[in-house]
Symmetry: D2
């Protein structure tokens, strides 16, 4: 099929001190299928170069900014040149960076949420389509084997007709005023960098994405109650949402960053007319299926069930816990697989990686939740064609 060499990756953002950039690098390195070859790791040119050197990169490929990176890499022979770019900056920089990379002919794997606004996401979709390049979005939680297994069970009809979808994402890391000083917190709470929402934009969107992915249904309307619990914040740090999915399925989404003592409690429950399904991110290798007047089933990753769609996402046998980084690495491995395929010109995403449609739906979710919260009317339709806010479209 494709040439026998690792996939070459560049990175924008993720300089020293950043959290998520390092996670992306670990995930990319894990399976030895991807090689980080260059980067523009910071908006501060000096810090950008230093960060690259600390990662053992060739100094000539530690660029001061991403425009120089795009030029420098384009000038290299195809076999040495980076093939895709991982974008791990704060939200407000995603669109510009992704646009430039795609237009320069590089595939893009972008951190979520995809853009600063729905308007940008709509624009990005056009850029992606015109570029003919791959665009991936790191909705990490879709990389877990048991999330894939959950999707498979639903698709196979194990739950029967879905009646009710409950998803929640509880964190406590922003429960204190003093938590706001960290690098990760500062930009997430700043409307100029994070966009219109903190809690819903950062984690609510993960929950919505997970619920849609596993159920195969789309959110069509919502009613929201967001809150800013810690004084002085300008964005939401807590919220609850009633959902309607396609096929009139009823649902709820609860998310918080001030749920003190919670770590990263993302939990999905789907109730059908034949069975229900329960998954928790903090114990990711377990899936519980409950039935009516019958015993429940515990499925564990690596044990018996599941097609290759599921088992390909595991590296070690059952009982050897795989976690968040492995889930993340699955997205990278699958994206790299697609990049390899595309080397000969084909653009078939043969492995599933969340992409521009998830980007669009995510941004639409965020803006409609915030708009619904501000309204006295109960229900609001969710559309991806335009923003509910006149002033920000």
């Amino acid at each position: 099929m494709s040439e026998k060499r690792k996939v070459k990756m560049g990175m924008i953002g993720g300089g020293q001190g950043a959290f998520i950039g390092q996670v992306h690098r670990i995930a990319a390195a894990m399976d030895s299928e991807i090689e980080l070859v260059c980067g523009a790791f910071s908006s501060d040119p000096e810090k950008s170069i230093l960060s690259g050197k600390a990662l053992y990169l060739d100094p000539s490929r530690c660029y001061p900014d991403f425009n120089q990176m795009l030029q420098g890499e384009a000038a290299l022979p195809a076999s040495e040149r980076m093939e895709f770019v991982a974008i791990v900056t704060p939200n407000h920089l995603h669109y510009e960076a992704a646009k430039c990379c795609l237009e320069a002919g590089f595939h893009v794997l972008c951190d979520k949420p995809a853009t600063f606004s729905l308007k940008e996401a709509i624009a990005l979709k056009n850029v992606v389509h015109e570029s003919g390049k791959l665009f991936g979005l790191t909705h990490t939680y879709l990389g877990y084997p048991m999330v894939k297994r959950a999707k498979e069970l639903v698709a196979q009809g194990e739950l029967g007709t879905i009646r009710k979808i409950m998803v929640e994402y509880q964190q406590g890391w922003l429960s204190q005023k003093e938590d706001e000083d960290s690098k990760q917190a500062a930009w997430r709470l700043d409307p100029a960098k994070a966009g219109i929402s903190c809690c819903m934009g950062d984690i609510g969107v993960h929950a919505a994405n997970l619920a849609e992915y596993v159920s195969g249904e789309k959110i069509t309307a919502l009613c929201a109650d967001l809150g800013t619990v810690v004084d002085g914040r300008r964005l939401d740090d807590d919220g609850a949402v009633f959902l309607r999915f396609s096929n009139k399925i009823r649902g709820t989404l609860l998310a918080s960053q001030i749920a003190i003592g919670e770590e990263n409690n993302l939990t999905l429950r789907l109730y059908g007319d034949k069975a229900s399904l329960h998954w928790q991110q903090e114990e990711p290798n377990t899936l519980i299926i409950k039935r009516h007047n019958a015993s429940s089933t515990i499925e564990r990753s690596g044990i018996g069930e599941g097609s290759s769609f599921v088992t390909d996402a595991m590296r070690v046998p059952a009982g050897h816990p795989e976690g968040y980084i492995e889930a993340f690495a699955n997205l990278y491995r699958d994206f790299a697989h697609n990049v390899k395929i595309s080397r000969n010109g084909t653009l078939t995403a043969s492995k599933f990686v969340p992409g521009i449609e998830d980007a669009l739906r995510g941004m639409a979710f965020i803006e409609h939740v915030v708009a619904a919260d501000r309204s006295d009317t109960k229900w609001h339709d969710l559309v991806t064609t335009h923003s509910p806010f006149k002033d920000i479209t």
Copy 2:
């Protein structure tokens, strides 16, 4: 203090085949402080008498109906006469039975919800006050030691200022059409017997009561999304509610009877600015306290912590699980204690048992949730002074 003899109890409802009546009797018998002496167990006189005999009652005190019971018992010497009546009929009969008992001079311990409507609850409150008799309401879950411990921890300020209250009650026993035929299901789904709501009236009201009890806060406003998931039903079998408590505390209440595979999953989570508290009815002897950037604590019933308010609610040492029936028995034991105290004329409820205020708030919750669900407006104030429905006030 009071005379040395067991407290004598009569019962209305709970004839052969009824579920909850038998639970009341087991709870009453458990601590050998209460003696069932008479009953009118069914609206069918013959069945009523047979039921009493099967319970080893004196045949002369197996009454064909509750009016004859009130007359018959009144005619007995005080030392033999029943002292209180347990009412365990379907909802629509509670008010009439409770009113007659109270007016005949007997204390009443009534199953929940207290009445058929908020209007009846308001009327009942007057009856209780005029009678000078004790009125208790079996909100069973308040009888658990660790629920009491949770209340104590909140009151002691262990959680700091409460910011967020999450309660949910998931059941699956009505998830199938064919589940409707059982005796328990039939009346709960019949508006003429259950009242305006099935899911919220049967279990939502427990969740609301538990949240208010432990937090010490009152629900002041709500927004509701109820559903009738199984075709052909006339009442809700699933629902979600946004809550506002006193002090602007934000909350959510989720309840369902169609959550397939769920048994009796009542879960309470309280988040303060210092710590959070987690309790699940299905594992009732455990309470988890989570903190910010610090280890969590597992409190177990019978281990160290807790004042006598908590430890009095236990019968065996830690590690010997006590359950639902013991929690129920705690209400009975405490009510019997109060009855004993009142023998000499005092009416001091020295032990806490949920009562007429819980009755009123419960009925107000049910009616406002249903009204809010029917409205296009998001938020609705909760008041106990009148029904939100003109036609049913």
Copy 3:
């Protein structure tokens, strides 16, 4: 079948301050099938009488000692007379009390271990057989619904051929020197009252009994390592045992009273060639079945599976936790059932209650474990015909 009246019970031991006597009374009262009518609650005559009065007994049936109780009750009309005696004294008094009751024509339900020594147990077996009366032994844990379900699953061949039996019983209540002062601890650590062993005699014997009951296999040989961890004690407070069961099945039994922080952690695991079974007393309503390269099953009490042998042991629906007291009450209810049956002269134990065979095996287990611990040889056969100790036979 039998006359329509409650079964009448007397009690020996269990005076004020005793723990287990009160548990027996609660268990007996719970289902309103048994009536406590008399007792000799203490070796101190005055305390005995006071204890009875505090239990609302007829003063004429609060006896100063058990001999007077046997005489007094025998003099009453058959319909008023006690029908069985619950023996809840320390171990060293069991034999004498049981013997007298049986010989006086009363059935006996005795706390475990049955006697002070294997020699006494052998003698008691003869007394039981000659008396023609019922003898029950309160191996409480056999009363749990899911223990019965476990036995049923094994008997049905769900696990295939049993290969390995692991049972453990961890407690921490004697982990401190100062724990020795309580009434419960004092006699258990006193060789004159408890017998030859503390940990193995008090809880190891429960573990052995549970393993034999569920598996249907008998312990045939053992190798033991007992310890006295807290200085100054004269009996074991910790121990480990290798087991051989019938059919050469390999097993282990671990027990401790100094396992600090443990409550009452009795855990059973059975491994067959088709599946394994896992049960924990602290979460008694759950049974887990694990299989080879296949998903596991969670069985919950009240959900679907199980014959009436199992479901008769429950009082409330799934999700309403039943616990230790309910398990205890199941033994009482079943024993009372057998007592009723016997009223007309039949002595068919139609419901299973642990009895004199369990008594014998329990005492044999205790003595052989202690003997094996004292030996330098690894393996020792377990027999019920005579003690391994010459000096104490």
Copy 4:
């Protein structure tokens, strides 16, 4: 300190189809501190070379056997040459490979158990000491953050004086006859390749190592009961051991490969006189501390507690599960750190990695357990100076 380049690694064993070799490679790659540069992946020269190419290695460094690798690498400039060798063959080849590598001047990181026999381990110790090179042993479970935290808590005296150590390792992957055909099973059940033991040699040794590491105590004597449960096997597949540790601490070690339905259930419990500690490999990010008559504590990786000894072993914040591969990668990262330090001639193992002493103790444990099982005497001292078997020393 040391030159700024990745640490270069070669590998012996781990060709296509091998399980553990791939895990080693993933662990080595994860943190981008180590670069796999060469290998002799199979005893079949052709397969060895093909395996290397599939890993994107320079064809000139895909060697047909490890002797050629040692020669080939020695001939390269120091800055390109491999710096250490990972040995991932079956047990019987470890010693020869390790000896050759060390004598050729390369550091060695070896899979466990270290050698085929205690005699070889003693010899290897001499080779290591004479070589002046680093020798690491991949006792993976020591790489978990919460295992390090456990060790830290014990060392800080949180448990008080240790009284009792319970470790168990239950697997079910060899429970069926037909499980014996896999590549992993075949050599483990073959005495010519695995050595004197299957279950104890493969996993019992992990359990013993973990218990010694966390407690800081050494096993001094033991009594064993091993079994060969599945017919026709020549080595043990199940076993139980009584342990004595230094300071007369009592302990038990239970291990099985026929515990059907078990995945990789390695569990450690330490009981002191102040508190106890509980850790399970299948839920590795949680550590529970239980106390006497006081609430328990849940420590979670990434939450508050723990020195850098613990926190350095984590990559992502609390609630983002890290697992087996991350634990493995911690050993690799720490070993690579030590390799870097040694570049300038120093041989200070500044980061802890299990080494030759663990190798020796592990082999001594295996041989003494097998010898003890074959003896009729109960207790046997454990020494590392010579084998208990005359014929195999």
